[in-house]
Symmetry: C2
Subunit: 276 residues, 2 copies
């Protein structure tokens, strides 16, 4: 999916909601455990229920990988099921030397090889340029680079300052713009760090930001929108647990739909204030 | 495998060689492609041939992941096949927020969940402490943290200096020692960076270093040993392509054995110079 198509979906659905498919066998409603593929059975109902209100879906790959080959099979079924007008994110946080990053790109982008055909993958920046650029050799596929993460340990290195006073996450934002255009490169910026969001926006005015940490992790959607929106929206705000685990009963999909609809309604108000 | 057992193997085999199982369908001898699982068929013969000279095996996970579920099945068979006295490394370069890193730990360490039972996993440090420590909750399992990598882009951020002049990779080494003991935490230090190896050793005198980049990537074993060895050896030197692709003919395993034996012989000389 290219940027034009993504922006079109956002303004059509009046939503920049991304639903995180962090699907955990220990947390899904127990009645689903009798299904031959409980993970996919859960995801399918979540997707059906939330699709009118969401523009993107983000499976965190760890949840599938932890189950070995059967987890990868559930992931394949899930990605195949997501409607093509939704943007898909492999939240994998990969990154390796060049020829190996090419294989990770193949894993998430090349359906013939791996059975997966995501629109984008999250990548850790520690190994630098040649760990990132191989992902961009696939047409219309995106890299979403970790910049400032929402976890406590995010401060350990990302807030290191260099001799000019620049934070490491700022350097990642600045330098990576020389690797790819904002039509192919997004950034992860945690919503628990809203004090930094305006600063991120100054460094990358055009880029899309993937913002996790709204909902269960405690970030505020209004604050994120205030500091993060640009003319193309430029935001994908992710909510995982607050939507997919809104209920643990047979009505879980309806409860998820309700939560997604609430977030979409708040997003519609934010988008209406944009001049386009 | 604990540190005592690893050190014992190194001095018993007079080797600190790690064989990288970067097994690529496009590079293995063509006659293997008729096998129901060509990747495992190749790995099995490489392991049989090199095991007398190697103390560790390191599959780079990208090579398996690129093939989807069947790649994970090949990886499971490979790990199950490696003799238990060899140290196994999942070169996965993972790392995510705490509860998600726990799932990656499950993926590589918890055989009941994923079918994999590695001794260690490589982890990227960008997300900090709570992205690393969940891996240490499994007894006798190791984290191998990226410090200074052998690729060109390694310099992009790893050689950023802070206000006191400390490089980012030095900060990673220094700070991470407060997270775990050297009996559970190793570091990746690229062999193409031998000028830095002595400096790394000053910061982490006791830790094991996993050194890739010897062989095909051009690093020198003698230089690595000179700057990197400590009283427990403290080194695992990895070679991938120079061993596993030494020949593309039906004699590939014999050729791999020959290359591994040459490296082991050089390592035996280095180890004999240690006072123990």
């Amino acid at each position: 999916m290219n940027r034009h198509q993504l922006v079109e979906q956002i303004f059509k659905k009046k939503s920049f909601l991304c639903v995180g498919l962090d699907t955990d066998l220990r947390k899904i409603p127990p009645h689903l455990l009798n299904d031959p593929d409980p993970i996919f059975a859960f995801n399918k109902q979540i997707i059906d229920a939330t699709e009118p209100f969401a523009v993107a879906y983000k499976p965190n790959i760890a949840f599938y990988e932890a189950l070995g080959p059967r987890g990868w099979a559930s992931l394949q079924r899930t990605i195949e099921y997501i409607p093509k007008h939704c943007f898909t994110i492999a939240d994998a946080k990969r990154g390796d030397i060049g020829n190996t990053s090419s294989l990770y790109a193949q894993a998430f982008f090349d359906e013939k090889s791996s059975g997966l055909n995501f629109d984008s993958v999250t990548v850790a920046p520690y190994m630098g340029r040649d760990s990132v650029t191989p992902f961009l050799e696939f047409a219309d596929k995106w890299v979403i680079l970790l910049a400032l993460t929402s976890n406590e340990g995010g401060a350990d290195f990302q807030l290191s300052t260099d001799q000019s006073g620049e934070y490491l996450f700022e350097k990642v934002l600045r330098v990576s713009q020389t690797w790819a255009h904002a039509n192919r490169l997004m950034y992860v910026v945690g919503a628990t760090q809203t004090q930094w969001l305006a600063q991120v926006r100054r460094i990358v005015p055009d880029a899309f930001l993937l913002v996790p940490g709204v909902g269960a992790q405690g970030g505020s959607l209004a604050e994120v929108a205030k500091h993060g929106l640009n003319a193309d929206a430029g935001l994908l705000v992710n909510a995982s647990r607050s939507i997919i685990y809104a209920s643990n009963e047979p009505d879980f999909a309806e409860a998820a739909r309700h939560e997604a609809r609430l977030m979409q309604a708040e997003m519609a108000v934010c988008l209406a204030q944009l001049r386009r």
